[in-house]
């Protein structure tokens, strides 16, 4: 790998530089929340409902209070007055969206296994946990409903009695003459898929510490969160702590994948109890506890219909979702499926479009964003449906894809948004070349002919993704509660090193490295002279945090523009001191030259600080901020190909190859991009083949720990074969499109299409995820009989 000393200044963007984040993480010096403790700190434990639905008849905390080390214990009732507002739900997609009052501790009724009912504060971790078991609670169990479709049936038990229904909302998006297209279509396909529920499993569990400053009313919260800025705004509303007195810090954060894109009960509890008791409070989630109390992902029933001509030209798409929201609306529960709402026509040029989503309450842990959030679901549905169409027409699935690709950019897609740029044939061609498609097809037909017990399947996913959340106006139009901008401040210090304060909040995505590259290149200074500071509302007060592959496409672009402002100001100082016109100055790699003289940005930083010789009226200092609101989403695309070997006797699926060619626009650090794709692909493969959160009828989470929820290890996953094509995004000056979710978005469809491709000769085309040996074997058995 190239090191900085081999690189010329000004050749930093695009280079696979070593990560600045690594040193602390590799040596055990990084500080995650659980690594911190404060003088006088006490521990919090939450008592959770073992019932999926029950009236809370009585809570008695006396037993806990009598336990050694216990300082305080409260029922939900006793804390009810602390809450100024419900835990936040930032997205209510329709005017009539049912929003339950979500208190940090349940009062009267518990609505899922894991719902917090009481809280205990003690001197130590173990005392708090032990005492939590001594809280006495009488429950009157109530009827439960776990399945979203059943929850919509008449007479279903109601999760929230007050709404008279379990329907949270129904949301529509329709364009073009959908019914006409279906009426006149040569061929239609109608498919039904299940997006099983997933548990995100960031390897660092959640945790929070709150330090109160009673004399001033200030509070500082360290939380394992993706969203310190959003947490500050919303927790201020929930707890009544004035926003100006609340500081939120996301220290080192061990992964999130959407599960930490939230504002949780434990954060609110720790805040109000630290305020009440005047002592620092710490809570660290246990993994099995987190399986119940940290949001889950997916859990949708998808119905998708295509109307097409006999050649295979898709004319219209209809998609209908029924989404299990669980018991409450967490931060973006209600909006998550809608992030895919525009993408059910995939990378294809379609005339008419109809999307409908119904969100449903059940007695389960709330669902919310999980890597890709809405877009993996959309890609899965359209990519599987395209294969179904190809089968119906007896055509090659690649022929259908090529026939329908969007080709002219910017392209307005059926759902009404505009795709910035792309070349879908290019990544498909590149992927086929890596695969050696003809050779694999030959192997497949040989095995078919000789009736091998191990059949080969090849699956494609030519996906289109929309990310870079998001133009604020668009977010407003779809009733999201905040903007989609992000912010950066660049501060050139007098001795020539630079601080970059960013509003995004990384937890594995390498922002320190990537943003350093952008700023070092623009300012013409060494990569190592740039320090990137993040995740602390006191250091970088403006920000919208990290999710939805937005950090580079929004925050990175903000950093780029802030650097431009630095250059603009430095140019003015240089022109003044070199006595030339601004437009006579040349700028290259950190040096302004003109009139036979030159000044570097570093020298100008010192000049700006001494302020001895600045143009009249100019403010001293070389510092600039920029808040960037993107004009459009960004639109990565790509081709992923999975090759599987399916044992038709045991149902075992072996993923033998995985090819991914992605177009994520311009690339700042190819090594980082590759890593993001690897990780995303692994998560999608895991959904396709192994992972599933299962509840029993009574609402107990059967897959209640890491022992019985299958997070894959290195032994299960293959090596991925990556390629890259590049169509820079024309809507931002870096040309970037975002890469955090592409792998997850593309991969479930590729893998499942491959499994089905292997099984088609046996008459199996209807198969849901995860394609476990048992499920595949049963499908084969059913087809045989």
């Amino acid at each position: 790998m190239a090191t900085i000393t081999e690189l010329e200044v000004g050749r930093v963007v695009g280079a696979p530089l070593d990560r600045k984040e690594d040193a602390a993480l590799l040596t055990g010096q990084a500080k995650f929340v659980d690594d911190m403790s404060l003088p006088g700190m006490v521990w919090m434990a939450v008592v959770r409902s073992p019932y999926a639905h029950a009236r809370i008849a009585m809570v008695n905390v006396d037993g806990a209070l009598a336990h050694r080390g216990v300082i305080a214990a409260f029922s939900g009732d006793e804390l009810a007055d602390e809450w100024q507002a419900s835990l936040p739900c930032a997205w209510l997609p329709t005017e009539d969206t049912a929003q339950p009052n979500h208190r940090p501790l349940a009062v009267d009724e518990a609505r899922y296994v894991g719902d917090g009912v009481a809280v205990v504060i003690a001197e130590s971790r173990s005392e708090a946990r032990d005492a939590a078991e001594l809280v006495q609670i009488d429950y009157d169990p109530l009827p439960t409903v776990i399945d979203a479709e059943k929850a919509l049936e008449d007479g279903s038990p109601l999760v929230h009695e007050e709404f008279g229904t379990n329907r949270c909302y129904t949301w529509n998006l329709a364009t073009g003459e959908v019914d006409e297209e279906f009426a006149k279509a040569d061929v239609t396909v109608k498919e039904r898929y299940r997006q099983q529920r997933l548990i995100p499993n960031a390897i660092e569990p959640r945790g929070v510490i709150v330090q109160p400053f009673p004399a001033t009313g200030e509070l500082t919260m360290w939380s394992s969160t993706q969203v310190p800025h959003i947490a500050r705004v919303t927790l201020s509303m929930v707890t009544g702590v004035p926003e100006a007195k609340l500081r939120v810090v996301a220290p080192a954060v061990g992964g999130g994948f959407g599960s930490k894109l939230n504002v949780y009960a434990e954060e609110a509890l720790a805040l109000v109890l630290a305020r009440r008791l005047g002592r620092p409070i710490k809570w660290i989630e246990q993994r099995s506890e987190g399986y119940q109390s940290t949001t889950h992902g997916r859990d949708q029933i998808q119905e998708i219909e295509l109307a097409a001509t006999s050649e295979g030209k898709i004319r219209a798409v209809r998609a209908k979702l029924t989404v299990n929201f669980g018991a409450y609306l967490q931060l973006v529960t209600a909006g998550t499926p809608l992030l895919g709402a525009w993408l059910y026509s995939g990378a294809y040029d379609v005339a008419a479009y109809d999307f409908e989503c119904t969100g449903v309450f059940t007695n389960t842990t709330p669902t919310d964003a999980y890597r890709g959030a809405g877009r993996p679901e959309a890609t899965y549905a359209i990519e599987r449906a395209v294969d179904a169409l190809a089968r119906k027409l007896g055509k090659d699935p690649l022929e259908i894809r090529r026939l329908n690709f969007l080709r002219e950019f910017p392209a307005t897609i059926a759902s009404g948004l505009t795709v910035d740029s792309g070349d879908y044939d290019a990544h498909l061609d590149a992927a086929l070349e890596i695969l050696d498609h003809d050779d694999i097809r030959r192997q497949q037909s040989e095995r078919r002919e000789r009736g091998d017990t191990k059949q080969v399947g090849i699956g494609f996913s030519t996906y289109l993704e929309m990310c870079g959340l998001a133009p604020s106006r668009v977010l407003g139009a779809i009733r999201y509660g905040a903007g989609g901008w992000d912010a950066a401040t660049i501060r050139f210090l007098p001795t020539g090193t630079v601080q970059v304060l960013i509003g995004t909040s990384p937890h594995g995505q390498s922002h320190v490295t990537t943003f350093s590259q952008i700023v070092a290149e623009r300012l013409g200074i060494p990569y190592d002279d740039v320090e990137v500071l993040h995740g602390d509302t006191a250091v970088a007060p403006l920000g919208m945090d990290t999710y939805g592959s937005r950090s580079l496409t929004v925050g990175g672009v903000a950093a780029y523009h802030a650097a431009e402002r630095i250059i603009d100001k430095a140019r003015k100082i240089a022109a003044h001191q070199l006595e030339v016109g601004e437009d006579e100055l040349e700028y290259e790699n950190g040096t302004f030259s003109g009139n036979g003289n030159s000044l570097t940005t570093k020298e100008l930083a010192l000049q700006a600080w001494t302020a001895h010789n600045l143009p009249d009226g100019m403010e001293p200092g070389l510092e600039a901020s920029f808040v960037y609101d993107p004009p459009n989403f960004s639109w990565p695309s790509g081709t992923h190909i999975a090759v599987v070997e399916v044992d038709t006797e045991t149902g075992d699926v072996d993923l033998i190859r995985y090819v991914a060619v992605d177009d994520v626009g311009s690339v700042i650090n190819p090594r980082v991009v590759e890593g993001q794709i690897h990780g995303g692909v692994a998560q999608g493969i895991a959904q396709a083949l192994w992972e599933e959160a299962v509840y029993d009828e009574d609402g107990n989470l059967v897959t209640g720990s890491m022992m019985n929820y299958m997070v894959p290890s290195a032994a299960e996953l293959p090596s991925y074969e990556l390629g890259r094509t590049e169509t820079p995004s024309p809507t931002n000056p870096l040309g970037v499109k975002g890469v955090g979710e592409t792998g997850t978005i593309a991969s479930t469809a590729a893998v499942m299409n491959a499994v089905v491709d292997a099984l088609v000769p046996f008459g199996v085309t209807d198969l849901d995820m995860p394609a476990t040996p048992e499920r595949v074997w049963r499908a084969l058995e059913e087809a045989r009989t």
């Binding site: 790998m1 070593d18 990560r19 984040e21 690594d22 040193a23 602390a24 993480l25 590799l26 040596t27 055990g28 010096q29 990084a30 500080k31 995650f32 659980d34 690594d35 050694r68 173990s126 995100p200 499993n201 960031a202 390897i203 660092e204 569990p205 080192a252 954060v253 061990g254 992964g255 994948f257 246990q286 993994r287 099995s288 937890h507 594995g508 995505q509 390498s510 090594r671 980082v672 590759e674 890593g675 993001q676 690897h678 990780g679 995303g680 692909v681 692994a682 998560q683 720990s705 890491m706 022992m707 997070v711 290890s713 290195a714 032994a715 996953l717 090596s719 991925y720 792998g743």
Partner: protein, 168 residues
């Protein structure tokens, strides 16, 4: 009275002294019988580089070396390692120079959030000690007890190969 019974109760729980050598330094500790090694390291000795990712011995984030061999420190009680030597991630570098496995994780981009990383590195050190030239297959199987949610494992495998001297 209260204070007295409190300290008596403490006494009952204590098992007396335990001597553990951690990263070359000997520690004499009074441990409660139920204290897990991982919390002895993290909370008694302040060695917070060893992480906790689960409560079912599934994730391997807590992996350390016990007399040179990798173990999950959440599966051992502090009292069980009396008289033994423990190496944690903090003890791997020598004189400020990173261990070749640490270097290889850095060079091969074998970490993203880094939470699983100390565990993986300790597991890899132990693997390479026993099997200096493992195949890709052997590496993948040897690391089965460690979970990473960020990297998809490919660069972790590459890092171990690189540390073993394989051209990657």
């Amino acid at each position: 009275m209260l204070a007295l019974s409190f300290s008596l109760c403490r006494k009952e729980l204590a098992v007396g002294q335990v001597s553990i050598t951690v990263n070359g330094a000997e520690h004499i500790l009074e441990l409660e019988p139920r204290e897990l090694l991982v919390y002895v390291l993290r909370e008694r000795l302040g060695l917070t580089g060893t992480n906790v990712g689960c409560d079912t011995s599934s994730c391997g984030a807590c992996t350390v070396l016990l007399d040179g061999e990798s173990v999950k420190s959440c599966t051992l009680l502090g009292v069980q390692v009396d008289g033994h030597e423990i190496t944690t991630i903090e003890g791997l570098a020598t004189n400020g120079t990173m261990h070749p496995v640490q270097e290889a994780f850095h060079e091969q981009h074998g970490l993203q959030c880094g939470y699983c990383t100390p565990g993986f590195i300790m597991a890899a050190v132990s693997l390479l000690d026993e099997t200096p030239n493992p195949s890709e297959e052997e590496i993948r199987h040897a690391l089965e007890g460690n979970l990473c949610r960020c990297t998809g494992y490919q660069n972790i495998v590459r890092a171990v190969q690189a540390a073993a001297g394989v051209e990657v």
